[in-house]
Subunit: 333 residues, 2 copies
Amino acid sequence: MVSMKEIAKNCNVSVATVSKALADKKDISEATREKIRKAAEDMGYMLNASARALKTNRTNNIGVLFVDSMSAGLAHEYFSEILESFRWAAEEYGYDITFINNRFAGMTSTYLNHCKYRNFDGVVIIVADFSSPQILELVDSDIPAVSIDFNYDHCSSVVSDNTKGLRQLVKYAAEKGHRKIAFIHGEPTDVTKKRLDGFYNTCRELNISVNEDYVIEGRYHDIDESYRLAKQLLSLREKPTCIIFPDDYSLIGTISRFREDGDDSLDRISVIGYDGIKMARFMGITTYRQDAQALGQLACKRLVDAIENPEGLCEHSVVAGELIEGRTVHEVK
Amino acid sequence: MVSMKEIAKNCNVSVATVSKALADKKDISEATREKIRKAAEDMGYMLNASARALKTNRTNNIGVLFVDSMSAGLAHEYFSEILESFRWAAEEYGYDITFINNRFAGMTSTYLNHCKYRNFDGVVIIVADFSSPQILELVDSDIPAVSIDFNYDHCSSVVSDNTKGLRQLVKYAAEKGHRKIAFIHGEPTDVTKKRLDGFYNTCRELNISVNEDYVIEGRYHDIDESYRLAKQLLSLREKPTCIIFPDDYSLIGTISRFREDGDDSLDRISVIGYDGIKMARFMGITTYRQDAQALGQLACKRLVDAIENPEGLCEHSVVAGELIEGRTVHEVK
DNA sequence: AAAACTAACTTAATCGGTTACGGAAAAGCG
DNA sequence: CGCTTTTCCGTAACCGATTAAGTTAGTTTT
């Protein structure tokens, strides 16, 4: 690999001159700068990130925590869209992204150690088990960090407006005349809590009495579970007229499984998804589209801010989504 | 950040001793090794990847080319599954993965330059415009590389068995009595070429005469296009009885759009997808599941082999998939 | 024309490890 | 008890950059 040393030799200058010439420092004459530039080009030279990082203590590399305990992860359109937009923004800012893991040289390690090892300039937590001590250790370290859809005290966060999401969905259903609205929510997480807040508060505001049998815990992205719970809801003496699902994916799966069963009871009531994945839009499902792109982009901006100004306060931003009106919520008298 | 120097001072040994102790070299006594280990642990020490890479010329980092010109990319389940399994395997082998791009410090650069800059030990090409000169430059460089679903002369490759895929699908349709089989294929790429081979050869073997109106070029992952072409096929004087789509995604989208139109003509013939995405399986679509997991895993193995033995010959592997029997291919008399 | 700048480099230290080589002390051997 | 091996650790060069500080020649100032 050709290094500055060889360029220096070739141009009869010192390595320092080469470095400064290529870095566009001012104390190099235009003539030598050009000579060096040309030599570098001709010799196929490229800067060495490791060497630079060693000296400058900056890697221009961002660590991405994206661990899918449930094998959702990349297969989850919402998260992969966030990752994609984050990545794009990072590249714009001149950063690369590397996945964080907790295996070092084959052995088990910690996320923090991995970040120290790679010397990431910053870290973004997109998907993870947010309550794990390893994550806490990471966000409490002095590495600039930003978390998505979760709030920590010591780092910036960007979260989707889940409360508003449920508010809009409930309001929409209510406008269509629904009063028996069920909500299959996901595992108890920050996100779920916010959604439940939105659900309960909006019901209260609209004077909709919440039947406790209608609010049940399921799992995100789990078709089997949603299917089971939907069946359960539809077997109640007093059936709900509308069911809000944890996400579009499980809703679509559930719908098709009901049809497979030859059971049209789900088609005869109203259903609502969450996320706004492409397929849901194609299928005309009423859902709340989370603005994954904005989330990823903003998270990146916040992280870069934190990197460039480590003394800055952390900011907590909420990103709104939008209701997508499909054809799965019917008017009731 | 705590370095070996500080541990050395703390333990009254030289930096070399610390390095060797932590690297489990044999010429350090068990006593000092333990003393150093403990100090490192207590001080929260972690190795510095840049420093190590500088000296050893190994980064334990693999560059991943994953560029979605068509905004498919991560949203494409097949590719994201490959990425996921590749990543998992890489971590097992002790490698991290970083996305390759062609922007350097905000400006436009080349993929190769980026790889030189990061000094990747190897490179995997998962999604890209395979014919771009930048990619060619990359695979022709001396960086160990492996490509997925595309063959280059100078690097190993792992490809899905597209010929077999189409063979199986055509055979299956034929067994169900279909003789008028249409094939909406994707853009002309290596993959498409193999599929066409499989399609034509199998038709010939089974004495199915191919109506040239039935074999038309569409685009992968493009619902609008597939929808348009399906309509076109169904408007032919002599309609096909079975249509093979470029992929599950566009098939599912097309089906739902037909239903939206109140057009049941697609439901009355047989349809076949490709990829075997989860949703397709839930919806009972007959398709060919590509073994994305095996592809990613094998690609990683090949790459690690190439890294560890740069003189080795490149290998070209073909990974079989399997036909998933759904309910979208009906018996014809 | 001597003093004071300025422009354009060079020198050398440094970042945090790795590793070939060397050397002293302890252990093994006859 | 001498001599050869081992064992264990230190010295120092090196990887490829960056950058503060120093140097030299040319230019300006007075």
